[in-house]
Amino acid sequence: MKELTYHRADDAASAVALVAGDPDARFLGGGTNLVDHLKLGVTSPTTLVDVSRLPLDEVTELPDGGLRIGTNVRNSDLAAHRAVRRGWPVVARALLAGASGQIRNQATTGGNLLQRTRCVYFQDVTTPCNKRDPGTGCSAIGGYGRYNAVLGASEACVTTHPSDLAVALAAVDATVVVLGQDGERRVPMSDFHRLPGDRPEQDTTLAHGELVTAVELPATGTARRSTYRKARDRASYAFALVSVAAGLELDDDGRVRDVRIAWGGVAHKPWRAEVAEAELRGRFVSEESVRAAAEAELAAAVTDEQTAYKVPMVRNLTALTLTGLAEGATR
């Protein structure tokens, strides 16, 4: 048996101090991913600091119309929250597209963002993996690749980020509120996760010991008319092959005033399709215009036999999602 120390944190600052001071300590939230890793041997912390009972479980409406989501708000509660469903439907739909009812009841907002890749090699300690064990090599290159990245991958790592929620948050310009030993800082969602580069072990820009305390959502026109679509290998309880989070705001003559597009299943982080967004601004939304915009974004895609499908799939799904939004479809 592998012994470890379990602390139940009384307040966020002491939790941060405990973890920051110990390289082998980890925060424990809902545990839906970390506990698997303990069993699989993917990680072997000596100390767990349980932050799941900290009173960071409120959804608060902000004076400017935005929303502040405490890190411990459970995925199921967030998906059901009236304000979220009304002002940020993409967030509710992304949550409901993820995992299972049981897992959503357990998983937290902050934990969801910090879940790690489900790459089969990362999760199997008998195979080399640069993310799990830096410098050992990437088994996914030349191996099982169906879920691999097509954008922003590196020679060190070709995996994708598994979260649905993170993709939605990227599409609504969310800000992640982080507490560290030097106090609080605010990280735009687009800077929260990182591309693998030569340090794939680093999923995010957080330092060890920094704790996500909240996620803030600004009220925007694109968030209000937004949705999430996910293609997957079975009807539920599967990670995205690709997914699209999108928000749309049209001007009076029906042209795109503003648009947000984020893709899941294509990169090491939620992929904000800013090239595609720029292509669409000022244009009418049609299948053709969205496909062309998506293809412009996908010009940078690198695929192989196993991942080639992702390019047409995400292009098609983006076209469907945005034309649906333009027609006022609420799905």
Binding site: K2, V120, G143, Y144, Y237, Y309, M313, N316, L317
Partner: protein
């Protein structure tokens, strides 16, 4: 145990058979009182608590163990011992190399057992296993099943069937045929994945080995393990009162059962528990080999088949041969004067394939029934009509008359209920919003199998009750319930008057719960014993009298071709933007003889349909050719159908009594539900999209435009 052989008479009067008697063990199961293999409160003679075993497995696909360094493991708190090939008890017989573990240093596949850790807790055992350092020497390996993999012809194929058959001159007939299909169909690695992993608790008291096992056959496990361990069969007792599913993977003993037995023999008097992890199940407990079927059909313009060739290639292991009989169903399905079937096997450095629900029929009928759909298209015929047109008068394989072939009725009944007549003829004809919509049909078949050697014992008890005993198993099928019903009708009493004892190898011989043969074979023995009991002791026996009888062959297997048949109808929707496939409707109509218990039968048939749907849409084990390792080794990455994938699904059966097969009038039903189902789904996706996919599973990327 010897017993006189009795061939029973048909049951003339039935009152329990045909009713939906509630599962006899349902309450124990849903309340958690049922004890599974590692839940039995087994202690040693002096109250010794069980030790926990954990398997250490190889990480190279071929090579040898140079050294097992257990120092760190043994230093870990709670670890008691580490057993490896230098310290394991020697087996008396090592000819079965799948089971002869830890006898030498050879590594024949990745994931092979190379050591066993015994510890006081399962957590210590697991950590101990992680601390065992196994130095391995790798040799070049071949683990990829490829078109150019060298193959050979096995002496026979699974089930004892001939490897090749040839009637007429199919190649010449194919060359002449005006309407042809010539295509290759593949199915991937599929893994049985029962809910309860392979697990056992073993106790060796110095004289006797007791194994609480999760198995489809206590007697077959005893009969296999005892001689290897150098024991008389009576020295081994195997019990399996509850089994959390098997789907064939617990039909034969696998290496983990030998591991727990060997481990127990190193600690006499102390029980040992072993539960294989989900990940280990992908290497150690059998799986369905990938298959590649080259099917060629030649027909007249009116759709009548003139020639049929099915050449199947499957994978086997260098450790032990398993030749899946994928081309065997082609021998019985359709009338064609010129026919050939062949089986070839690629021997690789991989784990040993084994039985998975309908071995042979499932992948073989997938290939053939998609090919028949293609033929219908080429002939311009409705797929139901094409099948009806090729209905053989007698069994094409043996020339025997059919016992009870009612395929055409299944097709017609299913077509009527499904609304087949409303179907547009052409493919890619129906759009509903974001979805292409189509329908498909396929036929299914499964042979009537009867296992010889079954023995049942009937004893009268006080108050008009009867004890009935046979070493059968209920792996979740409902066997405990239906055997009670059969015994009740055979003895002419209500089912409440039957005390059924089963799932214990000390009882009279029961064959494996496999090949859809359980109810058929055990039930025939129970009827034989009950009828002999009445002959011996009359209608009003004294309490305590008993009769034991061995089942003679009732089934007329030599005079008639005895098979079940069915027809599966499917509606598939394929997403126009993503290619994702959904199946809103699935219907199977079957001819399976008399249904003993409609409740449990329906569950078996629906379960088969769901498993076929799952194979159609999702299931694919991915073996990394570089390492021989199945990397999709959990239920997050090896997808099986989730609830959301199973929509409107139904099974029905023709009113039937098959007195040629069993005295109950029944045939087996455990497997036919999976047969043909994947083909029906594939055919429906073709009809929806016009895209013909010949390689399972039917994942979204195939249909993407």
């Amino acid at each position: 145990m010897t017993a006189d052989q009795v061939t029973p008479e048909p049951l003339r009067s039935t009152s329990s058979i045909g009713t939906s008697l509630l599962r006899r063990d349902g309450v124990e199961k849903v309340t958690g009182d049922a004890t599974y293999a590692v839940e039995h409160p087994v202690t040693g003679p002096a109250g010794e608590p069980p030790l926990h075993a954990w398997l250490v497995t190889s990480t190279v696909a071929r090579g040898r163990v140079v050294a097992v360094d257990a120092t760190a493991a043994l230093a870990h708190a709670g670890v008691v011992s580490v057993v490896d090939h230098t310290s394991a008890p020697r087996l008396a017989d090592t000819s079965d190399r799948e089971l002869a573990i830890l006898q030498d240093d050879a590594i024949a596949f990745r994931g092979q057992i190379v050591a066993i850790v015994l510890a006081e807790t399962s957590e210590s055992a697991r950590e101990g296993a992680a601390l065992v350092h196994v130095e391995q020497e790798a040799e070049p390996h071949a683990a990829a099943f490829q078109e150019d993999s060298p193959t050979y012809a096995p002496e026979s194929v699974n089930g004892g069937s001939e490897t090749d058959t040839l009637d007429g001159d199919p190649d010449e007939a194919l060359a002449r045929a005006l309407v042809t299909v010539d295509a290759t169909y593949t199915t991937p690695h599929e893994h049985n994945n029962p809910m309860e992993p392979h697990a056992a608790t073993a106790l060796w008291d110095g004289e006797r080995l007791t194994l609480h096992d999760s198995t489809q056959g206590p007697r077959p496990v005893r009969g296999t393990l005892a001689p290897m361990l150098g024991l008389a069969e009576e020295q081994v007792r195997v019990l399996a009162p509850y089994v959390g599913g098997g789907f064939g993977s617990k039909g034969l003993p696998h290496a983990p059962e030998m591991a727990v037995a060997l481990a127990a023999m190193t600690v006499p008097g102390q029980p040992v528990r072993l539960a294989v992890t989900r990940q280990q199940m992908f290497a150690l407990t059998g799986y369905r080999t990938p298959t590649r079927s080259h099917v060629r059909l030649g027909a007249h313009p009116d759709g009548r088949l003139e020639a049929l060739r099915h050449d199947a290639v499957t994978q086997s292991s260098r450790v032990k041969e398993f030749a899946e009989q994928a081309a065997v169903p082609a021998r019985v399905m359709y009338a064609a004067p010129h026919r050939a079937t062949t089986h070839r096997v690629a021997e690789l450095d991989v784990p040993v394939p084994s039985w998975m629900r309908a071995p042979g029929e499932m992948p073989g009928m997938y290939a053939q029934e998609v090919a028949v759909d293609e033929l219908a298209l080429h002939a311009g015929l409705d797929p139901v009509a094409l099948r009806v047109r090729n209905e053989p008068d007698v069994d094409p394989d043996t020339g025997n008359p059919w016992g009870n072939r009612r395929l055409v009725e299944c097709l017609r009944r299913g077509a009527e209920r499904f609304g087949w007549a409303d179907r547009p003829t052409g493919a890619r004809a129906t759009v509903d919003g974001e979805w292409w919509v189509g329908t498909g049909v396929a036929a299914s078949t499964y042979p009537m199998l009867w296992m010889p050697g079954n023995i049942a014992r009937v004893r009268s008890l006080d108050g008009g009750r009867y004890a009935v005993a046979i070493a059968a198993t209920d792996i979740g099928t409902g066997a405990r319930t239906v055997l009670t019903q059969i015994a009740a009708d055979a003895l002419g009493c209500p089912p409440e008057a039957i005390d059924l004892d089963m799932a214990d190898s000390d009882l009279p011989f029961g064959s494996v719960a496999g090949g859809s043969s359980g109810t058929t074979s055990w039930g025939t023995a129970i009827v034989a014993a009950a009828q002999q009991f009445r002959a011996d002791h009359g209608e009003h026996p004294d309490p305590g009298v008993e009769t034991t009888a061995a089942s003679g062959q009732y089934a007329d297997m030599d005079g008639h071709a005895l098979h079940s048949f069915g027809a599966v109808f499917c509606e598939a929707r394929v997403h126009r933007y993503t290619g994702e496939v959904r199946v809103p409707r699935l219907l199977g109509v079957y001819s399976v003889g008399r249904v003993v218990n409609p409740r449990t039968a329906r569950s078996q048939l629906l379960g088969g349909l769901v498993m076929g749907l799952s194979a159609a849409l999702h299931e694919e084990g991915w073996r990394d050719p570089r390492t021989g390792h199945t990397v999709t080794q959990d239920l997050a990455t090896y997808h099986v159908a989730a609830h959301a994938d199973v929509r409107d699904i139904d099974a029905e059966w023709l009113d039937d009594i098959d007195e040629l097969s069993t005295p109950m009038g029944s045939r087996g039903i455990g497997e036919i539900g999976i047969v043909g189902t994947a083909a029906a789904v594939a055919n429906a996706t073709y009809h929806a999209t016009g895209v013909r996919v010949r390689d399972l599973p039917l994942t979204a990327d195939h249909f993407l435009e």
